[in-house]
């Protein structure tokens, strides 16, 4: 994309460097001059906000690792040591814990923005797939991080989630023992989770780099979903979007610090302040809020199907609920990207959002009474949305007329 670059090395040294490692040219092309549609709204700032979240998690995480002890006898107390004795430890620890929730809040907004505006459609399928991959890595990282304080919720989350793998026929039990490093969740489990929890964020960072690379090949999608036609449709990334993104980040930090400083435990569960006891399961075991929709799907399956037992079937639905996201670009075949110009899709989109929130709610409820039935209905709708509604709507829907270009739509809006 060197055609966007206006970079000419200013000095002899810059020229020398440019011929060997064109890092200044690269930064200028991709961070400053990159042509970006001029009509991006604030929902598009969440990409930058997510980079900030990853940065906060890595910095605070590296610091916590300086004081944390990954040993079942000492882990719980070492986290308390951080909160009580380490200089500023209470705040750094709460930024990391609250940061996980904020990271997921931002990623859900980012994903649902992409779903509404059709950002997964050609030529951005790889971009979308890499994004889903980041989401999966985030879930793995968050889960393992949640185990580290070694409270009741930590230990039981580790037990329950590793048990998912036992559902796999034949290799299930050996695989379970391999993952745990023992017959139950114990010190080897905690140690490997610590190691992987430290490793995965850097893998995420690498996939984020690929994600941005894949973004910069076709360029950004935009709220009307019409391709960029000429330079009147775009603005250089800097200073326009650097500033807009930075403003978005500062706004996002306000609820972030609200939780981190004034209610650092409100997003967690009180039971995690009790050290893990493998003899006593807490009365209500609930994952962190960001796992609830998928947890609800896992739990909803309480029946056998043909030769598949309910446990394996639940795991299949659970994995399927994420795998199906990878396939989204091929399930929604409509040519029009933006939901704003798709009258039928729009309705089903919001139904899907409500259904997803419903699953979140159900994930937190006990598996009894009406909740069991509702969970099944919502789980079914989740899959129906992808495999039935999207393909059918794509075929029968008559989209509204699209503006011919971004600049035309922008002008129409400002003169309206």
């Amino acid at each position: 994309m060197s055609e966007h670059s206006t970079y000419t090395p200013g000095s002899g040294l810059e020229k020398w460097l440019d011929e060997r490692l064109p890092i200044i040219r690269f930064s200028k092309e991709h961070l400053m001059d990159f042509p970006t549609p001029k009509n991006l709204n604030y929902w598009w700032t969440f990409g930058a906000i997510l980079v900030m979240c990853l940065g906060i998690q890595i910095v605070t995480g590296v610091i916590l690792a300086m004081h944390y002890t990954p040993n079942i006898g000492m882990a719980f107390d070492s986290v308390e040591h951080i909160r009580r004795d380490v200089n500023g430890g209470r705040m750094i620890q709460s930024f990391h814990a609250v940061g996980a929730s904020m990271f997921f809040a931002a990623v859900y907004i980012h994903i649902f923005r992409g779903m509404y505006f059709g950002s997964y459609k050609a030529p951005r399928e790889i971009l979308w797939i890499l994004g889903v991959l980041i989401f999966v890595l985030m879930m793995a990282t968050a889960f393992m991080g949640y185990v580290l304080p070694w409270g009741q919720m930590s230990g039981w989350a580790a037990t329950v989630i590793t048990n998912i793998f036992a559902a796999i026929p034949v290799i299930g039990t050996p695989l379970l023992e391999l993952l745990r490093g023992g017959f139950s969740v114990g010190n080897p489990t905690l140690n490997r989770f610590f190691s992987l929890h430290y490793l995965l964020p850097f893998v995420i960072a690498a996939v984020v780099a690929l994600h941005i690379w894949a973004l910069h090949v076709p360029g950004n999608n935009n709220p009307i979903g019409v391709d960029v036609k000429d330079s009147r449709d775009t603005l250089p990334f800097h200073p326009y979007y650097t500033m807009k993104d930075a403003f978005g980040m500062v706004l996002f930090l306000i609820p972030f610090v609200w939780f981190a400083f004034f209610a650092p435990d409100i997003l967690g569960h009180p039971d995690n302040y009790i050290q893990f006891d493998s003899q006593v399961t807490p009365a209500h075991i609930v994952p962190e809020w960001y796992f609830l929709p998928f947890y609800a799907i896992l739990r909803a399956i309480d029946f056998n199907l043909l030769f598949i037992n309910s446990k394996l079937l639940g795991v299949m639905f659970f994995i399927g609920s994420i795998v199906i996201l990878f396939l989204l670009p091929w399930l929604d075949t409509a040519k029009v990207r933006s939901g704003s110009f798709r009258p039928m899709f729009k309705w089903f989109y919001w139904l899907f959002v409500i259904n997803f929130i419903g699953l979140t709610y159900l994930g937190a409820q006990p598996a009894e009474g009406i909740y069991v039935l509702l969970s099944k209905v919502c789980t079914a709708y989740y899959f129906i949305h992808f495999v039935v509604i999207l393909p059918v709507v794509s075929c029968i829907e008559k989209p509204r007329p699209l503006p011919t270009s971004i600049s035309e739509s922008v002008l129409a809006k400002s003169h309206a």
Partner: protein
């Protein structure tokens, strides 16, 4: 856009400078706690000063106690050792310090010093060497009865930590 910018240069510049300055303050205020967390924490600082009871250490005996993670010699010197230490001419010392400088007035028999050789940190053996003081098994440094280096590679005398006598039998080190 370029012309627009030139119209309101001062207001625009002020806003940019103010935003930049506030961003700078924010960045600095964020970075400091991220560095400060590496400083000794409250539990470490709480044992930075220890009280030690000298009761029961007879003349000619020494004990090694732990202070800030370092071994510390506490020796109740015999009169002979004190006299020997005081008799050494300053000119013979590599790191000249009088015995008075290394002890507390009125408690000259008590020698309290960090037990790590000033060469490379080994712990010297007591009541040994040519000077009746300490000798280091690692590289052969020798110290006299006031813990001053007399021979070998150690550049300075054994270090006397900050301490004070709270009473005749109670010292606070650190």
């Amino acid at each position: 856009m370029a012309t627009e910018a030139q119209h309101s240069t001062t207001r625009r510049d002020f806003l940019f400078v103010a935003t930049g300055a506030v961003a700078g303050v924010g960045a600095a205020a964020t970075i400091w706690p991220l560095i400060n967390q590496m400083n000794p924490d409250a539990s470490t600082l709480a044992v930075a000063s220890v009280e030690f009871n000298l009761n029961g250490i007879e003349s000619g005996q020494s004990v090694t106690i732990l202070w800030r993670g370092l071994p510390v010699f506490v020796r109740n010197r015999t009169d002979k050792e004190v006299e020997e230490a005081k008799a050494v001419p300053m000119a013979e010392l590599r790191d000249p310090e009088t015995d008075e400088q290394r002890t507390k007035k009125g408690h000259e028999n008590w020698l309290i010093m960090i037990a790590n050789c000033t060469h490379l940190g080994c712990i010297p053996t007591g009541e040994s060497g040519e000077f009746d003081g300490w000798s280091c098994p690692c590289h052969g440094s020798q110290f006299d009865t006031a813990g001053r280096v007399r021979k070998g590679p150690a550049p300075t005398n054994l270090v006397v930590p900050p301490y004070e006598f709270i009473s005749d039998t109670l010292v606070r080190i650190g």
